[in-house]
C-alpha cells in the first residue's frame, strides 16, 4: 500500500519537476542545477512521505532520524543516480520496533522509479569501523539530515563520527585509498582513455569525492573540527577543482539523459554529441577533439589532486591497514610491498636550467609532482628556451632510460615541457583516434610503450623475460625510447599514412635535438618499420623467404633487437589484452629466426663494384669523391660491415688501410663510454685473430665484442671492444701506445705471444661464475654459401676468445668473418671458417668440435 502516492500529488510534483530540470539542461547544459534540483525533488518526496507516516500514526515522532548519504547527502543527485538513505535509530529496540513501518518510505521511492537503497543503523553502530565495509563510514562524511529526530543526527555528527575519525581515521582513509588504487589499476592508472568512464575512471567524479574526503579527514585530524566545504582546498586549487567538478557533473548529466540510465561511459558517439552542444565547454559547438582535450584537462586536475592526497595518506601507515595489506600481498604472491611515490613540492616556478633536472629525478625514482608544483611548471613551460635545443638530447636521454620514464614524461606532457621540447607532440596531445582495438589516446599510448619496456624486467611471463634479456643487451636504449615516443606522431596529421607523417616529423625533431647521424638513421628506421614485424606475424614465420625478407629490412642484429622490442611495446600498449601469449610467442620465434638468419648469412651479401645510392648516401657529409676512392677498400667486405659501422668509423678504417703499405699493420685505440675500441687493419694472415685476442687477454683486457671482416684484397679489418679490467689504460695514458706497439710487434713477428702469455698468466685466472653456462658448439655447412659456420656458446672468462681462435689456427681454419658477443656471463661467438679456400671437411669439423669441447668444457 502506498502512503504518499495515493493522491498522485507528489508523483506529479516530482515528475513535472524532473521534466523541468531536463528542459533547463537541454537549454543551458548546466549539470550543477540539475543535481541540486533533483536532490530538492527527492527531499520533497522523502519529507512528504515521512510526514504522512506520522499523520497516519504508522510511526511515532522522534523514533528515527532519516539521513541522506553519498551523492544524495552531498546534494548532487544525477538524473539516474541511486538514492542512499540511512534510518538512524537511538538503539536496537527502536530499530526492531519501527524498521518495517519505515520501509514504506523506501518502497514509495521505488514506486516513483527512484532507485533507493536504505540502511538501518543505531547511533552506536555508526561509531564502529568495519574494515569489510569502509564505504558506509565514508558515506557518513557526506551525511545530511532530512527529517525526524535531529538530536540523533547531531549525536552522530558531533560526537560519534569525530571519535571514530580520531581513533581510526587513518585506517579508514587508507582503506579507501587502497580501494581507489584497485579501481585506478582497472583503468590502467590513466585518465587518457579513448572512451573514458566519467564516474569510476581515474580523474572521474569518484576521484573528486575521494579528494574531498581525504582533505576533510586531514583538516579534521589537524583541528578537531569539521571544516567548511569551501575551506577544504586553498586557492587556486579550489577554483580549479570546482570548475572541473562543474564540467564533469554536466557531462554525467548529459550521459544520463542520453542513455536513459546510470551509464557513465563517454563513448565516441556521446563525445560527438556533447561537443556539438558544447556541454560544459565555454563556447557552443566545438570539434570533438577540442572538447575531449577540455575533458582531459578537467579530469587531470581532479586526478592530480586525488593522487597527491592519496599518496600523502598512504605514506602514513596504520596498523590495521598494514596488517590487511600484508595479508593481501602474501595471498597474491607479491615479493615486495607496493611503493607509494613521494610528493615533490616546488615553492615557485623553477628556472629553465633546473627543470629538466627535476624530470630526470622523476625518471630515476618514484616521485609525484604536487598540484602546486604542476602549476608552477605549467607557468614556466612557455618560457622554456627553445634555442637550446641542440644540447637537449643529452638531457632528454637520461629521462628516457630512467626506470620511471613514463611518470616523468607524463609530468612533462601535462606541464607543457614535452611540447616545448618537441612541439610536434602537440599534434597527438590527448588525441582520440577512433580505433576499435585501441584503448588510450595517441600520446598516452606512445608513453605507455616506454612504460611497457621499463617494466619488462619485472615480467613474470616466460616471453616477457626473454624480451627483457634483449633489452638489457642494447647499446643505446635511449634511441629506441625516442623512436617509441615519436612513432605515432603522424597520427596527428590530417589524412594519409601516419608512418609517412611520423617520419617527416621525426626527421625534423632529430635534427633539432642534434642526435648523431647513426642515431638519427636508427630512429628513422624504427619509425619507418614499426609495423613490419606485426605484418610478418600474419605471414608464415617458418617460411625462410619471410625471414630473409625481414632480415634484409632490419639489416643488423642491433636494429632487429630494437624493432622486436618496439613491436612488443607497441602491441602491448594498444590495450591490456592485446599482447596475447600467442602473439608474444610468435614474435619471439620471429625474432630468434631472424637473428639466426642475420648471423648465419653474413657472407651471402658482399660489396662488389660501385656502391649503391643508399650506401653512398652514408658518406654525404664527406668530400664528394671519398666514396669512390674507398671502393677498392670496401670491395669484398660483407654488406653487414657497412651497416654496423658509422660512416666516421669506416672512413677511419679506410685511412688506416691507406697507410698499410708502409707499415704492414695499422692500429687505432679509442676509449668509449665503458669500453675501449681497438681497430686493426692488416694483411690477413694465419693466426691473426688469435694473436690479437691472446695479446689483449694477456694484457688483462676482457673482450666483450669483436667483429672481424676481410676484403677481396685479403685485408683484415678487426675491431675488438674490451673492458680494462685492471684500469691499466684508464690510469696510464702512456699505456695506450705501449699496448698498440706490443700488438703491432706480435703481428709483425717481432715478439712471441707464448712468451707474453707465460709472463702474464695471472691475468687469465677467472673469478667464480655466478651463472653456469653449458658449452655448446654448432658446426654446419648449410647456412653460408662459402663458409662453414661455427657457433660457440660458453661461459665467458678471461682468454676464452684466444683459446677458441688458437684451436682454429692449429687446425688451419681461416676466419673469414667473426662476430663476437657477450651477454652477461655468456659468450656468443660466431665464426665463418674456410680451410684451403673451401668449407671445412667433415673430418676437420669433428676434430674442431672435439677440441673445443675438450678445451672449453674442461674449465
Amino acid at each position: 500500500m502506498s502512503v504518499v502516492l495515493s493522491s498522485g500529488e507528489v508523483r506529479e510534483r516530482y515528475e513535472s519537476g524532473l521534466a523541468a530540470l531536463r528542459r533547463e539542461f537541454e537549454y543551458s547544459g548546466n549539470g550543477v542545477a540539475v543535481v541540486s534540483g533533483r536532490t530538492a525533488l527527492v527531499d520533497d518526496v522523502v519529507l512528504t512521505c515521512y510526514t504522512q507516516l506520522l499523520t497516519k500514526e504508522i510511526a511515532p515522532p522522534n523514533c528515527v532520524s532519516i539521513v541522506a548519504l553519498g551523492g544524495y547527502g552531498r546534494g548532487s543527485l544525477l538524473p539516474h543516480s541511486d538514492v542512499d538513505l540511512l534510518f538512524l535509530f537511538p538503539d536496537a529496540k527502536h530499530e526492531a520496533a519501527y524498521k518495517d513501518s519505515l520501509s514504506q518510505v523506501y518502497l514509495d521511492l521505488w514506486d516513483l522509479k527512484i532507485r533507493a537503497s536504505a540502511t538501518a543503523r543505531t547511533v552506536d553502530e555508526c561509531g564502529k569501523l568495519d574494515p569489510e565495509n569502509p564505504e558506509f563510514t565514508v558515506s557518513l562524511l557526506d551525511s545530511r539530515f532530512l527529517i525526524g529526530d535531529r538530536e540523533l543526527f547531531d549525536e552522530v555528527r558531533n560526537r560519534v563520527l569525530p571519535n571514530l575519525i580520531r581513533k581510526s581515521g587513518t585506517a579508514l582513509m587508507n582503506l579507501v585509498c587502497e580501494s581507489a588504487r584497485t579501481r585506478h589499476a582497472k583503468y590502467a592508472n590513466t585518465i587518457y582513455h579513448l572512451e573514458p568512464q566519467v564516474k569510476e575512471g581515474p580523474g572521474g567524479l569518484r576521484d573528486y569525492n575521494l579528494a574531498n574526503w581525504l582533505a576533510l579527514a586531514k583538516s579534521f585530524r589537524a583541528s578537531g573540527l569539521w571544516p567548511a566545504p569551501e575551506s577544504l582546498f586553498e586557492f587556486p586549487l579550489r577554483a580549479e577543482l570546482n570548475s572541473a567538478f562543474d564540467f564533469l557533473v554536466s557531462v554525467r548529466c548529459f550521459l544520463h539523459y542520453r542513455n536513459g540510465r546510470d551509464d557513465n561511459q563517454l563513448s565516441w558517439e556521446a563525445q560527438d554529441a556533447a561537443a556539438e552542444t558544447g556541454i560544459g565547454a565555454p563556447s557552443l559547438s566545438i570539434l570533438p577533439a577540442q572538447w575531449m582535450r577540455e575533458y582531459f584537462r578537467n579530469a587531470r586536475t581532479i586526478h592530480g589532486a586525488c593522487l597527491q592526497l592519496a599518496n600523502e595518506q598512504m605514506r602514513t601507515p596504520s596498523s590495521l591497514l598494514e596488517k590487511l595489506r600484508g595479508i593481501q600481498h602474501r595471498a597474491a604472491g607479491a615479493k615486495t610491498d607496493p611503493a607509494f611515490p613521494a610528493i615533490l613540492q616546488l615553492q615557485n616556478a623553477p628556472s629553465s636550467n633546473t627543470t629538466l633536472a627535476i624530470f630526470q629525478r622523476m625518471a630515476s625514482e618514484p616521485l609525484q609532482l604536487s598540484v602546486d608544483a604542476q602549476r608552477h611548471l605549467r607557468a614556466s613551460a612557455s618560457q622554456f628556451p627553445c634555442a637550446s635545443h641542440e644540447c637537449l638530447w643529452p638531457q632528454l636521454s637520461p629521462i628516457l632510460v630512467g626506470r620511471h620514464a613514463g611518470s616523468a614524461l607524463r609530468a612533462m606532457r601535462d606541464s607543457g615541457y614535452l611540447h616545448a621540447i618537441i612541439p610536434e607532440f602537440k599534434l597527438i596531445d590527448a588525441l582520440v583516434i577512433r580505433d576499435y582495438f585501441h584503448r588510450y589516446t595517441v600520446d598516452e599510448h606512445s608513453i605507455l610503450t616506454i612504460d611497457i619496456l621499463h617494466t619488462l624486467r619485472n615480467s613474470e611471463s616466460e616471453w616477457g623475460q626473454r624480451f627483457a634479456e634483449i633489452l638489457d643487451e642494447l647499446d643505446k636504449p635511449e634511441v629506441l625510447y625516442l623512436a617509441l615516443l615519436l612513432h605515432d606522431v603522424g597520427k596527428g596529421m590530417e589524412g594519409g599514412d601516419h608512418v609517412v607523417g611520423s617520419l617527416s616529423i621525426g626527421k625534423e625533431v632529430l635534427l633539432r635535438l642534434n642526435l648523431d647521424l647513426q642515431e638519427q638513421v636508427t630512429v628513422l628506421f624504427l619509425i619507418r618499420s614499426h609495423l613490419e614485424m606485426s605484418a610478418c606475424m600474419r605471414r608464415d614465420i617458418f617460411d625462410s623467404n619471410v625471414i630473409a625478407a625481414l632480415a634484409a629490412k632490419v639489416e643488423t642484429p642491433e636494429q632487429l633487437k630494437m624493432l622486436t622490442l618496439l613491436t612488443y611495446a607497441d602491441i602491448s600498449s594498444v590495450n591490456p589484452e592485446a599482447m596475447t601469449e600467442w602473439k608474444a610467442e610468435t614474435l619471439w620465434h620471429l625474432y630468434a629466426l631472424t637473428a639466426n638468419f642475420l648471423n648465419r648469412h653474413v657472407d651471402d651479401s658482399i660489396v662488389h663494384g660501385a656502391l649503391d645510392s643508399e650506401a653512398r648516401g652514408k658518406f654525404n657529409s664527406f668530400p664528394a669523391d671519398l666514396a669512390r676512392k674507398m671502393e677498392p677498400f670496401l670491395e669484398g667486405l660483407p654488406h653487414r660491415y657497412l651497416k654496423i659501422y658509422s660512416p666516421e668509423q669506416i672512413v677511419q678504417h679506410f685511412e688506416l688501410f691507406s697507410k698499410l703499405q708502409e707499415s704492414g699493420v695499422e692500429l687505432s685505440l679509442l676509449p668509449h663510454r665503458d669500453l675501449y675500441e681497438l681497430t686493426i687493419v692488416s694483411g690477413d694472415k694465419p693466426g691473426l685473430f688469435a694473436t690479437i685476442a691472446g695479446a689483449l687477454s694477456a694484457s688483462g683486457m676482457e673482450i666483450v665484442k669483436a667483429n672481424a671482416f676481410s676484403n677481396s684484397r685479403a685485408t683484415a679489418v678487426d675491431c675488438f671492444y674490451f673492458k680494462d679490467r685492471f684500469r691499466t689504460l684508464d690510469l696510464n695514458a702512456s699505456e695506450h701506445e705501449r699496448l698498440k706497439e706490443k700488438i703491432a710487434q706480435l703481428l709483425r713477428g717481432e715478439r712471441s705471444l707464448d712468451e707474453l702469455i707465460r709472463s702474464r698468466s695471472g691475468f687469465l685466472r677467472s673469478a667464480r661464475p655466478k651463472v653456469q653456462i653449458e658449452t655448446r658448439v654448432l658446426l654446419e655447412n648449410e647456412s653460408s654459401t662459402h663458409s662453414t659456420l661455427l657457433e660457440v656458446v660458453a661461459q665467458d672468462r678471461p682468454g676464452l676468445l684466444y683459446q677458441i681462435a688458437q684451436s682454429l689456427a692449429q687446425l688451419s681454419c681461416n676466419i673469414e668473418i667473426a662476430l663476437i658477443d657477450t651477454e652477461g656471463e655468456m659468450a656468443l661467438d660466431v665464426f665463418y671458417l674456410r680451410a684451403a679456400g673451401h668449407k671445412l671437411s667433415g673430418d676437420i669439423q669433428d676434430r674442431l668440435r672435439d677440441e673445443l669441447l675438450k678445451k672449453l668444457g674442461a674449465e
Partner: protein, 114 residues
C-alpha cells in the same frame, strides 16, 4: 532455413585473404581465435644461442562462422581455394548444425539474426 557452423583452422598467413574472399561472397561476420595446434604437420626446431627450441604446437588461426545453409557450400569452397597450398599444414574445416541464433541487441532469432 537451417544454419551451419563452420570452424576452419588455417595458417595465420591466410587470415587476411580468407577474410577478403568471404566478404566478396557476402559473409561479413566471423569470430577469429588465435590458437596453437598440430596435425600431421611436424613442428620446427630452432637453435638460438646454442639452446634448442622446439615448436611442437604451431601458431594457427581458427575461424568460426555461422551461416544459413544456402551459403555454406560457397563459403567452404572459398576457404579451401584460398588456403590450399597442397602442403601438410594447410588446415581443416569442420561443419556442424546450429539449432538457434539470437541477436542479443533485439532478440531477433534464426537466420535473420546472423
Amino acid at each position: 532455413m537451417g544454419m551451419t557452423k563452420i570452424e576452419a583452422v588455417i595458417q595465420p598467413s591466410k587470415l587476411e585473404p580468407v577474410k577478403e574472399a568471404l566478404l566478396e561472397i557476402g559473409v561479413e561476420g566471423m569470430t577469429i581465435i588465435e590458437v596453437r595446434g598440430h596435425g600431421r604437420q611436424k613442428g620446427h626446431t630452432e637453435i638460438y644461442r646454442g639452446r634448442e627450441y622446439t615448436v611442437d604446437l604451431l601458431p594457427k588461426i581458427k575461424l568460426e562462422l555461422v551461416l544459413s545453409d544456402a551459403l555454406v557450400d560457397r563459403a567452404v569452397q572459398t576457404i579451401i581455394s584460398v588456403t590450399r597450398t597442397g602442403r601438410i599444414g594447410d588446415g581443416k574445416i569442420f561443419l556442424s548444425r546450429i539449432d538457434e541464433a539470437i541477436r542479443i541487441r533485439n532478440e531477433e532469432r534464426g537466420v535473420s539474426a546472423l
